[in-house]
């Protein structure tokens, strides 16, 4: 492995470490994500899953190591620069603007007029409108465009947040527990949605629901105490005795 050269990976994390007061939440992590790959990270509570997403999107600063996205170093960029580079991140609890309508939520997320003066002069033209409709159809909310987002069901809020990322057309989409709190039917629809949107981009998902993971994942990585315990196909990973011991056996 050559640490310094560029790779073909969408995301290349090398030797990434973050320590909080001496506690290493992520410990010398190496992780690669291909184009068009849907990768799920699983692991027990406190394994460092969410911290890894925080590190990639700039919410937490790493202690050492490198995160390269399309060969661009992310560790020294600020949050909005990382987003503009093409990384979208969905939070664990649905993070939408409850006071705005679904339409406005999507409009605010549209990647134009991102500066102060750009936003003052931003015009909701036909191009913006058709993109909003397109995304709304994908996330099954096209008949809720004028609904205040706070009135949506929990599952719909999760979809809306995914839609707010999709409208930015990110090359890397990171989803933190996208089906938490969803009904069985909503889970099925979400799995379908994720399979659809992973075409043409890389998707990194954190999830607990094993059935759901098996349904969507191309590859699975098991994280334990900030380190990779196992990685590969879901079936291999499920059979791995180490994994069974720390995680699946419970």
């Amino acid at each position: 492995m050559n640490m310094s050269t560029n790779t073909d990976f969408t995301l290349a994390i090398e030797d990434l470490t973050v320590s909080f007061d001496g506690f290493k939440a992520v410990d010398s992590l190496n992780f690669y994500l291909d184009r068009n790959e849907l990768h799920v990270v699983i692991g027990p509570n406190g394994a460092g899953k969410t911290t890894v997403l925080d590190l990639i999107c700039g919410k937490t600063k790493s202690t050492s190591g490198s995160i390269k996205f399309l060969n661009k170093e992310l560790t020294n960029l600020s949050e909005h620069e990382i987003v503009r580079a093409g990384v979208g991140r969905k939070f664990q609890t649905p993070s939408i603007y409850e006071n705005l309508s679904v339409m406005e939520n999507l409009e605010v997320s549209y990647p134009r007029g991102r500066g102060v003066f750009g936003s003052l002069l931003f015009k909701h033209d036909a191009e913006v409108h058709s993109k909003i409709i397109e995304v709304a159809q994908q996330i099954m909310l096209e008949s809720f465009l004028d609904t205040e987002a706070g009135l949506l069901s929990h599952g719909q809020k999760q979809w809306l947040e995914i839609g707010m990322l999709l409208i930015q057309d990110p090359q890397l989409l990171m989803l933190d527990e996208p089906v938490a709190g969803m009904s069985v039917k909503e889970r099925e629809q979400t799995a379908e949605l994720l399979n659809k949107i992973s075409k043409g981009r890389s998707v990194l998902v954190i999830e607990h629901d094993m059935e759901f993971v098996a349904r969507i994942a191309h590859k699975v990585t098991v994280l334990h105490q900030g380190k990779i315990l196992a990685a590969g196909e879901m079936e291999e990973v499920q059979k791995d005795p180490k994994v069974i011991e720390v995680y699946l056996g419970h």
Binding site: K59, L100, V108, V116, E161
Partner: protein, 394 residues
């Protein structure tokens, strides 16, 4: 046409509200009130600039500033410095030991005009300073805090502290600033007597037009994507940040804009009242401005003006008879509004206003003429041109 119109006045209710306010301050007050009372209302309306600025900053931006007096004061002082220099011509001040400098400087054994007073000989410079100095000052405060992600209570406390510092500075540097008495005895503007009734009436109308213009400009900001981003930030700041926006820049802008608006109010205050003093800079006036906005409705630009008028009429009426009780009453009113009418007067208007507006048929007709029925429906959901929406539907 309808697009621009929507941008500036909002929906039908917003437009009627705006017209009613314009009629009230431009027609009703001047016809009903004598020159003295009209001047008093004019003074109140200068505070309304600060209240409107707080609707943007606090109501929509979610950032409470307890220091709008800072900017009101800077605007007012800049105007007062110009007027004072004009009033302190060598002929007018011949009896001083140093003629040609403001009287309070002479009393404080200052023998030369301080350097920062020099440019205020120019009216053009003064007008620019009124707009630029407070905006720049707000930029420095805003950048220092918002870039470090200081917000909420901390921001409120820091702005309050800055207003105290500024007051102490003004009071302490008596020879340079006029001290606790402020800058008084202002007489003429480019040779024109500003203490006459006709000048005061003219200032009243200029003030009204500026206030209405500020409301329209603010509405433009709030109906743009910028306005929705402000609401979004108030709700979920992280989501906005992780949607590719540099949140701090938006907060800095709205803080600067609010400072600019307040400063215009301050300058108009000096012109109409004829003096400026530190008692319009410190904690008490800054908090009063917040109360004006809260009582009027912190989400309503027009409500803020009514809130300002109501509180100040109350203040004048009550403090004449019960001067000690007024502060308690105002405090009580503030608590009552926050607890029972969190949207203030504007909230009441929102809930019961249609009982009143249905009587204003002429405004309804005017509105219908301006905005064709087909585009109204579209504008209600979003400001897309009707043709485009119909195109994408079919």
């Amino acid at each position: 046409m309808s697009f621009v119109y929507e941008k500036l006045f909002g929906d039908k209710k917003g437009m009627i509200g705006f017209c009613l306010l314009a009629i009230l301050i431009l027609v009703v007050f001047p016809l009903m009130l004598d020159s003295f009372r009209l001047n008093l209302v004019g003074k109140y309306l200068t505070y309304a600039f600060a209240a409107v600025s707080l609707v943007l900053l606090w109501g929509y931006g979610g950032t409470l500033s307890l220091g709008q007096g800072i900017f009101f004061g800077i605007g007012g002082y800049a105007m007062a410095m110009f007027l004072k220099l004009e009033a302190s011509s060598p002929e007018n001040t011949a009896i001083q030991s140093t003629p040609g400098i403001p009287d309070f400087m002479d009393w404080n054994q200052i023998t030369e005009l301080p350097f920062f007073w020099m440019p205020f000989h120019s009216f053009t410079f003064t007008l620019i300073a009124i707009l630029v100095v407070p905006t720049f000052f707000a930029y420095i405060i805003g950048a220092a805090m918002f870039k470090r992600r200081v917000g909420g209570v901390y921001f409120a406390i820091i702005t309050q502290v800055i207003s105290v510092i500024l007051t102490v500075l003004i009071v302490g540097q008596q020879g340079l600033t006029g001290g606790i008495n402020g800058i008084t005895d202002l007489r003429t503007l480019n040779g024109w007597d500003i203490t006459s009734d006709s000048a005061k009436n003219l200032f009243y109308f200029i003030n009204c037009f500026l206030l209405l213009a500020v409301i329209i400009a603010s509405r433009f900001v709030l109906t743009s994507k910028f306005g929705r981003l402000l609401l979004a930030m108030r709700d979920k700041e992280d989501r906005v940040r992780f949607s590719g926006y540099d949140v701090a820049n938006f907060k800095i802008f709205v803080f600067c804009f609010a400072a600019l608006i307040s400063a215009v109010g301050g300058a108009m205050f000096t012109l109409q009242v004829g003096f400026m003093s530190p008692s319009f800079v410190g904690i008490v006036p800054s908090i009063e401005m917040v109360i004006f906005a809260a009582v009027g409705g912190r989400m309503s630009l027009i409500g803020a003006v009514y809130g300002t008028l109501l509180i100040n009429f109350g203040k004048t009426a009550f403090s004449e008879s019960f001067p000690e009780l007024w502060l308690f009453l105002m405090g009580g009113l503030f608590i009552a509004v926050v607890m029972f009418f969190p949207n203030g007067l504007a909230g009441l208007w929102e809930d019961y206003g249609h009982h009143i507006t249905k009587h204003f048929r002429f405004l309804n007709r005017f509105y219908d003429k301006l905005v064709p029925a087909s585009s109204k429906e579209v504008n209600a959901s979003n400001s897309v041109d009707s043709a485009e929406l119909e195109g994408s539907k079919s």
